[in-house]
Symmetry: C2
Subunit: 191 residues, 2 copies
DNA sequence: GTACCTGCAAATGTTTTGCGAGCAT
DNA sequence: ATGCTCGCAAAACATTTGCAGGTAC
């Protein structure tokens, strides 16, 4: 990695620009919507949950809550940050981190780790589900399966434990598709 | 570090998830080896694998290979580093990182992520298995299950994918025992 | 008014890397 | 020989935090 001697611990450039395919999800939330001043928009789903829990609602939190409520994928903090910026005012990434953590601590978000070093977030009330990650595109597909849940229960039992949580991720590849294109890193094409 | 949306840097993205290698062999190596001086000790299991693959064997690599071969848990880099230091000479943690990555790239180790921010490593030829984590003690129990493997296969198929990898982790708690809130986090109580 | 928020920059913790020196093949 | 390795320190990054000024309630 390039490294300039004499360069002090400067402003850390963050992540490289995402490949174009990342826009698949940007699309869904950039849909035309009247640009209302933040205060006039109807409360997002997450905002309602926050109020229920007595969290102080500031402009930034409302904004982040909106972005997360509208996301249908599993955005990382950077994604949330970018979408928030695009949507409206200026937020600091530190605030995004803080808010996302707050929401997680309040059971509103769930933190996921699909590898790749960044945490990704998911609305908690979407219900119990698992993920299949397309290793070629990075796309994430959600699914649920009763049979698996029962099996997990049984497995834990067999080992002498009560099941209190589980994590199942499948990694797959589309069979007939051209297999050889550049294996895309964990880019954004997530659903 | 402050972040600015304006700039980007080169090769940021890490390697995409690498499907875990499956293997048949399941015999767990027991640590019943005589403690000989490092240079005279018989080649560890990992060392043999390295030689097979034509990797250059240095003193440090032999040492790290030995530590990993003898480990029956899922050590993180720090653990490997400490054990290597205790066992013999001075290694740099950078070398541990480099070696562990080399071994992973050569299919000898598998990288695991049980949360907690540190990667943990596991001999690849221990065979295909999953983990149950005792949430009270942090202990990790390995298990394998044919029925699950078949189910995973079927689930992927149903979603239109070929299964190339999977990750299953169960989190459990001992039922009858007093649910004592033992300090869990990385205390080393790992199996 | 007061306790909590925010933005900024600096700090953290983990992992990677440039560099010159050293070692395996 | 010579190309791969090593140790060291610094870089790279994702994430957290201290602080001073603002804001929700």
């Amino acid at each position: 990695m390039a490294r300039r001697p004499g360069r002090d611990y400067g402003p850390g450039p963050r992540r490289p620009w995402r490949p174009p395919a990342a826009d698949a999800d940007t699309l869904m939330e950039s849909r035309t919507r009247p640009r209302l001043p933040p205060t006039e928009a109807p409360p997002s789903r997450i905002e309602r949950l926050c109020i229920e829990r007595g969290l102080k609602m500031t402009g930034q939190r409302r904004l982040i809550a909106r972005v997360l409520s509208e996301a249908e994928d599993h955005p990382d903090v950077e994604d949330v940050y970018r979408r928030a910026l695009a949507l409206d005012s200026k937020v600091s990434i530190a605030t995004v981190y803080r808010t996302v953590r707050l929401l997680e601590e309040n059971g509103i978000l769930e933190k996921r780790d699909f590898g790749g070093g960044r945490a990704r977030y998911d609305l908690a009330d979407r219900g119990h589900h698992h993920h299949l990650i397309d290793v070629d595109s990075g796309r994430v597909i959600e699914f649920a399966d009763k049979e698996f849940d029962a099996l997990a229960q049984r497995l834990a039992q067999r080992l002498g434990f009560d099941l209190v949580g589980q994590r199942l991720e499948l990694f797959g590849r589309k069979p007939t598709e051209a297999p050889r294109t550049t294996p895309r890193r964990r880019a954004g094409g997530d659903t």
